[in-house]
């Protein structure tokens, strides 16, 4: 049984060899080895051996050949194509400039928005294993408030009983504090936290150390935010270990946090540890859990819900009507910022598509003009793939140049926006936005992708060039297919522009509606600033009231001041207090069905200072003192909900703040928007500060004719006269407080409008380009027409009609897109329907006008074609 090596394996090996390698005698040697092998062992084993060796060798030679061919061919081809492409771009500067600028606009806008999306939505939170972190909110079932702060006892028991968590920690609401550094007191925002907060969060100090359970003993310690460290301490590292005074108490600076987003407390400047022994009443803390490794968030959430169910049984007076709401931290942080951002990213995507369509159109026109060149080169032996490769290189080069320029634009744009963003954009983590690795990679993909995209059609066309036909046509005709394609691009651009414009219109109208909402106050000529008595030794029970009463009285008496008052939480200023209550003329409700009301403590002429309309009864006056009967003023929403059709004045409510004693309603005032302009007012109860010193600070509001700066100076002077050691918080015009709540819609609608405007401009340029090109292609035909007696006006109308026909098709498609797209924006709109006819019709009309303008020039040019010139153009 003398069988040779397997013939198929030998053939595979043979085919992998080129002449030179064949000549080395590879096959002969392998045969010889096979014979030796077959003599030593069985022939079957030798054949197996031969197969493996032959295929291994074949793979080696094939890979080698691929590598060498590929390397040599590619480098040479790309180099040649690049040289040609650069030469061509330089020879046609108008073409290159238009194409590059268009791409730069599209790429720049896209990259800028993407960098914000990346920073806000995509990047993981800057903590250790952030996917394990869960925010544990309480859920108030009656009002369906799912992100309520939690009760300290609930927090403590969750922590004691939960087993699927590595740790549960908590941080308080944000509070104002007086921070004295080197004898100078200033207001700062502070949060109190559990000593292990930073450990559970997984965030280490940038300078010094965060406190932990180990070093929390002894003197109070504080950790500074990076921003506060830079602003107040000039980024001096030696501040670590030094002592400052917080609310009058000494505290040692233990460390500075890195520039990282902090959950539950944007803008907090320092943190100190929390004394849980203060009591376990109220709801004022944000618990944060880290689930144990390997435990699903859902399983941990189930556990904490079961624990809370038990706590509802154990403490029904406190927990009836409450549940726990575990939310993955990232989801909480990103929250509702994502909708507007995705919309903007979609909008710039559309803008980029329009830019690509424009450049594709330019390339198509150029390709048509180069048909003869391509035909000649094809006849001379250039392959279709060579020509296509060269055209693709040109388009990718244009995209690359445009992309580079766009990147610069994006960089300038984001850094200039970032400087103004904290207020302008009001997005979490937006300060991290910028051009980084991810963004660069995204830009690279974008550039190559778009370059290939708009270069593909001309390239494919070049690859299919039929030289004979093209040369015979002498460059007069443009292929029917290309014409259709170019028209299609224009129609698409018009449609997308209409959709973007109507999106911008919807957001713009929504924003206008938002800022024209009556907030229930008159913020003009009002200046506000907080005064915080915490740590000054003035105790509640009269001293704080006396101080604020005197301050507002003194302010009212100053020249240029009309009136002054103070309130614990400003409308739309962020933060607030609320509690359960019930009308005393009704049965006491069960705890889980207790209505809630916002609570505001006021002093002085607060209603006058804010110009809040009185509807019934009276506001607080000199009759109301700390020792007089307890009275409240309620808002319209509360009065109408509980006493519809009758006067609320004279009725009483029990407020479950300290005890359930009744408070008599003496007046009803107009609703004031509390949260933001787009959130309707709920029940609100104003309590006289003299009868309820529940907070050590007040927001002082001064109305007057002295101007914003004048009023601010008056406030500083009045406070200095009373206590020079007391800092005045940031002094703001009330208009700025109101405007801040509309910051995000303002920015979204502004950017949408900007992108839509750019898109419209690009679409108009595209239309203009297509029309003027078709005029130049039809010069001969037009000349003949004119020679045969057509009036110039008819010619102009003919050209314009062609353009407008394209626009009309685009408009119809665009209105359809707008109607569909509007639905996606519903959640971003305020009192504007997504099918708002004014926005959509306005967008269509605007585009029609712009398009008409773009057709005028080519039409006019056509009408002026002198017949002789046209006929001579042969």
């Amino acid at each position: 049984m003398n069988r040779g090596p397997p013939a198929w394996a030998r053939r595979v090996l043979e085919r992998s060899l080129n002449d030179r390698t064949f000549a080395t005698g590879v096959l002969d040697d392998l045969d010889r080895e096979f014979e030796e092998m077959a003599a030593r062992t069985t022939s079957a084993r030798a054949r197996r051996w031969y197969t493996v060796e032959a295929l291994d060798l074949a793979a080696h030679f094939m890979l080698k050949r691929l590598w060498e061919n590929g390397r040599m061919g590619m480098i040479e081809r790309v180099g040649r194509n690049l040289r040609l492409a650069v030469r061509r771009l330089v020879r046609a500067p108008a073409f290159s400039a238009t194409a590059v600028t268009t791409m730069a606009l599209g790429v720049g806008a896209t990259v800028a928005i993407f960098s914000v999306v990346d920073a806000v939505l995509l990047r993981p939170l800057p903590y250790d294993r952030p996917e394990e972190l869960v925010a544990l909110f309480e859920w108030h079932l009656t009002t369906d408030n799912r992100t309520n702060v939690a009760n300290p006892r609930n927090f403590r028991l969750w922590r004691e009983r939960a087993e699927r968590f590595d740790g549960i920690t908590a941080v308080s609401l944000q509070f104002p504090a007086t921070v004295e550094v080197a004898g100078e007191p200033r207001e700062a925002m502070i949060q109190y936290l559990q000593p292990d907060f930073f450990e559970v969060l997984g965030l280490r100090a940038d300078v010094g150390a965060t406190f932990s359970a180990r070093n929390a003993e002894g003197t109070e310690q504080v950790v500074l935010s990076q921003a506060y460290w830079r602003e107040r301490f000039g980024a001096d590292p030696s501040v670590v270990g030094s002592t400052i005074r917080v609310n009058g108490q000494p505290a040692v600076v233990s460390g500075v946090l890195p520039l990282a987003y902090m959950p539950f407390g944007e803008g907090t400047q320092l943190w100190r540890t929390l004394d849980l022994a203060q009591g376990e009443t109220g709801r004022w803390m944000y618990p944060l859990g880290r689930v144990s490794p390997g435990v699903e968030i859902a399983a941990a959430s189930d556990e904490i819900r079961a624990i809370m169910a038990g706590l509802r049984e154990e403490f029904p007076d406190y927990n009836a009507g409450w549940d726990v709401n575990p939310v993955p931290l990232k989801q909480h942080v990103v929250g509702d910022a994502s909708r507007g951002l995705w919309l903007l990213l979609g909008a710039v995507g559309v803008l980029l598509a329009i830019a690509c369509a424009n450049v594709a159109n330019l390339f198509l026109v150029a390709a048509t003009e180069r048909q003869r060149e391509m035909a000649v080169r094809t006849s001379l032996g250039a392959s279709g793939s060579t020509l296509a490769g060269q055209l693709l290189t040109e388009s990718v080069l244009v995209a690359g140049l445009g992309g580079g320029l766009g990147l610069l634009l994006a960089y300038a744009g984001t850094s200039s926006l970032a400087g103004r963003m904290p207020d302008a954009f009001a997005l979490p983590r937006v300060e991290d936005a910028g051009v980084n690795g991810t963004v660069l990679l995204f830009s690279l993909v974008l550039v190559v992708g778009t370059g290939v995209l708009f270069g593909l059609v001309p390239a494919l066309q070049a690859a299919r060039t039929a030289p004979a036909a093209t040369l015979a046509a002498e460059g007069r005709s443009t292929s029917r297919r290309t014409g259709l394609l170019r028209n299609g691009l224009v129609v698409g651009q018009v449609a997308l522009s209409v959709a973007l414009l109507s999106g911008a219109g919807l957001l713009g109208r929504s924003f206008t509606a938002l800022i024209s909402v009556d907030p229930g106050i008159d913020p003009q000529d009002v200046v506000v600033a907080r005064v915080n008595l915490e740590g000054t030794g003035r105790r509640s029970g009269g001293e704080q009231t006396r101080f604020f009463q005197e301050l507002t009285d003194r302010l009212s008496a100053r020249p240029g001041v009309a009136t002054a008052g103070a309130i614990t939480f400003l409308p739309m200023g962020g933060g607030g207090s609320a509690t359960g209550f019930w009308p005393t003329d009704r049965p006491v409700p069960p705890p889980d069905d207790e209505p809630t009301t916002g609570i505001r403590n006021v002093i002085g002429d607060y209603f006058g200072a804010m110009n809040i309309a009185l509807l019934q009864g009276r506001v607080f006056d000199v009759r109301d003192r700390s020792d007089s009967p307890q009275v409240v003023v309620v808002n319209r929403a509360l009065a109408e909900e509980f006493w519809p059709g009758e006067s609320a004045v004279g009725k009483s409510v029990a407020i479950t703040w300290e005890d359930d004693t009744p408070w008599e309603i003496v007046g009803v005032v107009e609703d004031v928007l509390v949260e933001a302009l787009d959130q309707a007012a709920g029940p609100l109860t104003y309590v006289l500060y003299a009868q309820a010193e529940w907070f050590p600070w007040m927001q002082v509001a001064v109305r007057g004719s002295a101007g914003i700066d004048g009023l601010a100076a008056t406030m500083r002077a009045a406070l200095r006269d009373m206590d020079s050691a007391l800092p005045l918080g940031e002094v703001r015009p009330m208009t700025a407080v109101v405007a801040r709540t509309a910051a995000r819609p303002r920015m979204t609608s502004f950017l949408m409008l900007l992108f839509a405007g750019l898109a419209t401009l690009l679409a108009a340029i595209g239309l203009y380009g297509v029309l003027s090109y078709s005029v130049s292609q039809r010069v001969r035909e037009i000349g003949v027409r004119i020679a045969l007696g057509a009036r110039p006006r008819d010619v102009a109308v003919m050209v314009a009609a062609r353009g407008l026909a394209l626009v009309l098709v685009g408009l119809v498609a665009g209105v359809g897109l707008a109607l569909g797209g509007g639905r996606l924006m519903t959640s971003l709109l305020f009192s504007v329907a997504p099918t708002d006819p004014l926005s959509i019709g306005g967008a269509a009309l605007l585009l029609l006008l712009v398009a008409a303008a773009a057709t005028i020039l080519p039409a006019a040019r056509a009408s002026r074609v002198p017949p002789a010139v046209a006929l001579r153009a042969e």
């Binding site: 590879v26 002969d28 040697d29």
Partner: protein, 135 residues
């Protein structure tokens, strides 16, 4: 130390180019494996068929040699004019026909010499280091 070693290599290349005008000078030094192939051919010129050369290398170096790399190297050495060949009867018993028997050309010998010289120059004064490392 590193800088002076680089300088040595540079000056050797320099000498090669201007002093002797050898092919190797412009193409760079022979690789380690190329040298091994050349030396194996020189060991037994009478039976320097590809298979035998490869086996010689495997035996002397004590490690197996990839067939692919070997034939590629052989082909490259031939292309560079460092090895030549003549047809000779196959050494295997009972096999008809002829096979290529390889030999090292004068250029190949020069290349070997230059590469060895460079190595020697680089190793100058390092005997104590190298020997200690080797033992």
């Amino acid at each position: 130390m590193v800088a002076s070693a680089v300088y040595n290599v540079y000056s050797i290349v320099h000498n090669v180019d201007h002093g002797r005008g050898i092919v190797v000078g412009s193409k760079g030094f022979l690789g380690e494996f190329e040298q091994m192939v050349l030396l194996a051919i020189l060991q037994h010129p009478d039976r320097a068929f590809a298979l035998e050369v490869r086996r010689e290398i495997e035996e002397s170096a004590g490690r197996s040699v990839s067939r692919g790399a070997f034939y590629t190297t052989l082909e490259r050495l031939e292309r560079k004019g460092l090895v030549g060949w003549t047809e000779a009867p196959a050494p295997s018993p009972g096999r008809a026909g002829t096979l290529r028997r390889y030999s090292v050309t004068p250029e190949g010998l020069d290349g070997l010499r230059e590469s060895r010289r460079a190595m020697d120059a680089l190793a100058r004064g390092l005997d104590h280091v190298i020997d200690r490392a080797a033992t």
